[in-house]
C-alpha cells in the first residue's frame, strides 16, 4: 500500500524550467508546494566542473544527463499500419533526467513565437484561402496572442540571461537585429555573443544575397550578469561544450542556477528527487484531481501525495503520457478524429551543407551554444509568399557552430574513404577548415501524427509505454527542398574549396541519429474543449485544478526552438494561478 502523505496546495511533477518557474512563483505567493522529480540533483561545483565535465564520450555519446531507456522509453512507428517498437536507446531526441531537466543541457536558443503561430489557421486561410491547408493538416489557432505573452517573454529572457540584438522595439526596426521579429518592449538583457568566423562569413554571404542576418538570441550570458531575481551568471567562455553538458561557468540560463535555488530557499517549498510519478488521481466526479501517486526509485516505496492542485511540468512527452495513464480527457483516435489527448504530435526538420575552405581557420572548439548567425527571411517574414512554394510554415537558415567535438564532428568532403591514411589526411586537413550552414524547419500538425498508449510494451513500473506515430508529410518535404536550395545557393556564393551540399530529406523519420529535442503537442491549448485539452491558461478542460506547462501544449511546431514560449507560458500560467485561480478556484474559461 502506498504511504499517504499530508496534503499540500500544489504538487509539481517534474522540476525543469517550467516546474522551477512555477515552484518559485507559487511558493512565494504563499502556497505549500511539493515538487516530485524523477532524476537526481546535480550541481555546477560537483558535476559540471573542469576537467571532468569536458568529456564528450560521457555526456554527448553516452547521454549522462538524459533519460534512461532502461526504466522508461516510448515505442515508435512511422504510420498506423506499422507495428511500434521500443526506442531501445536514445537517439533522435534527448529528454533530460535531472533537477533542471533539459534546461541543464540545452544550447540556450530563445525565440519569441508570434501570432504567425498562434493564429496559424486564421492567417493562412485569410491570405491563401481555405484550400491552401491540406485536409489532413490539423493545424488550429492557439487561443492566445503575442500581445498577451510579450511581458512574459520579457520576463523569461531577463531571467535566463538571453544575449541578443533587438530588431524591433515597439515597432521601430533596428539595424543588426531580426527585422521580422514581433515588436518587443525593450532590448535583450545582454548584448550578442562575439561571433565566430563561420558566423561572419555567413553574414557577409547572406547580406550579399539580399537576406537579413542577425545574431541568434541565446541564453548564454555574453558577459557577467545578475538577473532580476538576484541569480548570478558568469560570462560565457565559448568552451565548445554546451549542448548536452551542464555549464561550468554558470553562463547558460538554466533553472538549476536560477528559479530552483530561489524556490528551495522558501519554507513553502519542498523538493523530492528520485520520485517517479505514476498516476494523477481523480475524485469520484472525475472533474477534479486529488493528487498523484509516485515511487521512490531509490527503494521502491510507493506514496500518494494529495494536493489541491496538480501541475504537470515534466518533459513534453511525459506530460502527455501521464494524462493518458490517468484517464484524463478523451484519447485521440486518428480514424474517427475524435478525442484530443495525444493529438497533433509534431517534431522538426533540418538539413545542412558543409563548406570546406582551404587556408581558413574556424576553430570549431571555440563556440557558445548560441554561436549562430541566422536569417528569418523564410519564416517570420510574412511577406515571403508561400503560395509559390505551396507549403504552410517555413525555415530559418544559419551559419553556426555548436558542440563540434571530435567523436561526433569530423567533416570530410564527400567521397573520402572511411578509414586508413587517406581518411586521416582528410580529417586532419578539414577539422579546422570547414563550416556548416544549417536549417531548421517547421512541422505542421497532421491527422496521423499522434501519441497513444502502446498495446504491448511496458516500462519498469509495469505501465504501458507511450506510442509515437510520426512521419514527415509532403508539406515538410516541400519545406526541405526549398531550404536545401536556399542553403546551397548561399554556400556556392561563398566559393568554398569543396562543398557537401544540403540534401532534402526523403526517407521516413528515423529514431537515429540525433535530430532535435523539440517534441511538441499531445495536450494542446485552445479555445474549445472538443478540439483542445487545455484552455489558454494551460488549465485542463476536464479537471480545473490540473495545469500542464511544456511544449506539449503547442498545437503545432514552428521553425524556432521551443524554450522561449515554454518559459513565457510558465510565467503566464503562474500569473493566472496567483491572480485568478487562487481567488476563485474553478474553470478560468467557460467551456
Amino acid at each position: 500500500m502506498a504511504t499517504k502523505m499530508k496534503e499540500v496546495d500544489v504538487v509539481i511533477v517534474g522540476l525543469g524550467w517550467t516546474g522551477g518557474i512555477l515552484a518559485k512563483e507559487l511558493s512565494a505567493a504563499g502556497l505549500k508546494v511539493v515538487a516530485l522529480e524523477r532524476g537526481g540533483q546535480r550541481s555546477t561545483e560537483a558535476d559540471f566542473s573542469v576537467p571532468a565535465v569536458r568529456d564528450e564520450l560521457r555526456y554527448v555519446v553516452r547521454h549522462d544527463l538524459m533519460m534512461n531507456t532502461q526504466k522508461d522509453t516510448i515505442t515508435i512507428r512511422n504510420n498506423v499500419s506499422q507495428e511500434a517498437l521500443p526506442m531501445r536507446r536514445l537517439g533522435s531526441f534527448l529528454p533530460g533526467d535531472v533537477v533542471g531537466g533539459s534546461g541543464v543541457h540545452w544550447s540556450g536558443h530563445t525565440w519569441r513565437w508570434t501570432d504567425m503561430e498562434f493564429k496559424v489557421r486564421s492567417l493562412y486561410e485569410e491570405r491563401y484561402g481555405k484550400k491552401s491547408i491540406p485536409e489532413d493538416m490539423t493545424i488550429q489557432d492557439w487561443g492566445i496572442s503575442y500581445g498577451e505573452l510579450e511581458p512574459y517573454y520579457d520576463k523569461f529572457e531577463y531571467t535566463a540571461a538571453v544575449s541578443g540584438k533587438a530588431g524591433n522595439i515597439r515597432g521601430k526596426i533596428l539595424p543588426g537585429g531580426n527585422p521580422f521579429e514581433a515588436p518587443r518592449a525593450r532590448d535583450y538583457p545582454l548584448p550578442p555573443l562575439t561571433p565566430v568566423l563561420a558566423q561572419e562569413m555567413f553574414k557577409a554571404a547572406a547580406l550579399n544575397s539580399g537576406y537579413h542576418p542577425f545574431p541568434r538570441p541565446s541564453a548564454n550570458a555574453s558577459r557577467a550578469y545578475t538577473n532580476p531575481d538576484g541569480s548570478r551568471f558568469g560570462a560565457c567562455q565559448y568552451c565548445g561544450h554546451c549542448q548536452r553538458f551542464g555549464c561550468e561557468a554558470n553562463a547558460k540560463g538554466s533553472a538549476h542556477i536560477t528559479v530552483i535555488p530561489i524556490a528551495m530557499r522558501s519554507p513553502n517549498f519542498e523538493l523530492r528527487t528520485h520520485a517517479w510519478v505514476t498516476k494523477v488521481l481523480k475524485d469520484s466526479s472525475g472533474k477534479r484531481v486529488t493528487g498523484v501517486t509516485y515511487t521512490n526509485v531509490l527503494n521502491g516505496e510507493e506514496f500518494e501525495q494529495p494536493a489541491a492542485m496538480v501541475l504537470l511540468t515534466a518533459y513534453a512527452i511525459n506530460n502527455v503520457h501521464l494524462m493518458l495513464l490517468s484517464g484524463i480527457g478523451q484519447p485521440y483516435d486518428p480514424a474517427s478524429q475524435k478525442g484530443v489527448i495525444g493529438k497533433n504530435y509534431c517534431y522538426q526538420t533540418g538539413a545542412s551543407a558543409t563548406l570546406f575552405f582551404e587556408g581558413r581557420h574556424f576553430n570549431p572548439f571555440m563556440n557558445a551554444g548560441g554561436s549562430s548567425t541566422t536569417i528569418d527571411d523564410f519564416n517570420a517574414n510574412w511577406n515571403f509568399d508561400r503560395g509559390k512554394q505551396g507549403y504552410v510554415g517555413g525555415f530559418i537558415v544559419a551559419g553556426a557552430f555548436n558542440t563540434a567535438l571530435p567523436i561526433g564532428y569530423r567533416p570530410v568532403p564527400g567521397g573520402t574513404p572511411p578509414w586508413g591514411t587517406a581518411w586521416k589526411a582528410a580529417t586532419a586537413k578539414w577539422y579546422d577548415t570547414a563550416m556548416q550552414i544549417n536549417m531548421s524547419g517547421s512541422v505542421m500538425a497532421n491527422r496521423y501524427n499522434y501519441y497513444d498508449l502502446d498495446p504491448t510494451y511496458r516500462n519498469a513500473f509495469g505501465l504501458p509505454m507511450m506510442r509515437m506515430t510520426f512521419d514527415y508529410k509532403e508539406n515538410e518535404h516541400k519545406i526541405g527542398r526549398h531550404a536545401a536550395q536556399v542553403i546551397n545557393d548561399i554556400a556556392k556564393s561563398m566559393n568554398p574549396t569543396r562543398l557537401n551540399p544540403a540534401v532534402a530529406r526523403t526517407e521516413p523519420w528515423t529514431v537515429v541519429p540525433y535530430q532535435s529535442t523539440h517534441n511538441t503537442g499531445g495536450t494542446m491549448m485552445g479555445t474549445n474543449p472538443k478540439t483542445s485539452a487545455l484552455n489558454k491558461y494551460l488549465q485542463s478542460w476536464d479537471c480545473h485544478n490540473l495545469f500542464s506547462v511544456g511544449a506539449n501544449v503547442f498545437p503545432h511546431n514552428a521553425v524556432y526552438n521551443p524554450t522561449g514560449p515554454v518559459g513565457a507560458l510558465a510565467y503566464w500560467t503562474a500569473d493566472a494561478i496567483k491572480n485568478r485561480y487562487m481567488k476563485n478556484p474553478g474553470p478560468l474559461v467557460s467551456a
Binding site: 569536458r54 564520450l57 532502461q70 531501445r88 561571433p195 581557420h361 576553430n363 511496458r458 523519420w509
Partner: protein
Amino acid sequence: MKNDGIDRRKFLKSAVAGGAAAATVSLPRAAEAQPAGPAPASQGSPAPANTYAYLNPDEAAFVEALVDHMVPADQYTPRGTELGLNTYIDRALAGGWGKGDRLYMQGPWKQGAPSQGYQLPLTPAELYRTGIAAANAFCVKTYGKSFDKISESQREEFLLGLRAGKVVFENGPPARVFFATLYQNVMEGMFADPIYGGNRNKAGWKMIGFPGVVAVHYQNVEKYRDKKYSVDPISISDMS
C-alpha cells in the same frame, strides 16, 4: 607489425591450453603471459600491455587487426593498437555500456524497420561476441582464413563489403548493425578522452588540432578568428 597480434594470440592460446584450469581462466592467464610477449614500440610513454577484460583471444585478434587496419601507422598517428583503440573497445565492452546500460532490453523482440533503430536482443558485448564469430566464419569461407590472418587487401574488401551491406551473416546478427557499432567504437577510441584507454598520448586530438579540456576562449574567439590555435592538448588526467 600485424604479426604481433597473431603471435600473441598463438601464445595465449597455448598458454591457456597448457594450463591446468578450464578455458575461463584466459583473463588472468593473459595478464600473466603478457610480459613475455613482444613489447609494442610507441612514441612517448610506453604502451601498456594488451590485456583484456572482456575479449577472448580470437576476439582480441580480430579487434587488434581491425583497429590496425582502420588506423595504420603513418605520418599522422601510430597504428590503432598503439593508440589503445583495442583497449578502449575492450573496456567499453567489459563496462556498463557493453553490458547494456541505457539500453531497453525487454521483449517482445522484432526485427523492425530501419527507422526504428536498434532492435537486437543483444547487448553490445554480445553483439561483438556473435558478430566477430560470424565475421571470422565468413572470412574462413571466403578467404580460407580468419579476419586477423587474411591479407590487407582482403581485409579492405571484407570491411567495405560489411559497410555496404554486401556481406551477410547467415543466422547471425545483422552485419550492417555490427559494422556500425565497430566503426563508432573505433572513432570513439580514437577521439575520446584518454582516460577511457584509447587516444593514447592524445594522438587523435593532435592529429586534428583539438585542444582538449581547457577551453577558456572568452578572449580567444576574437584573437584567434581565422587564425590557427596551436596548443598541446590537455586531457582530463593531465589536470587531475
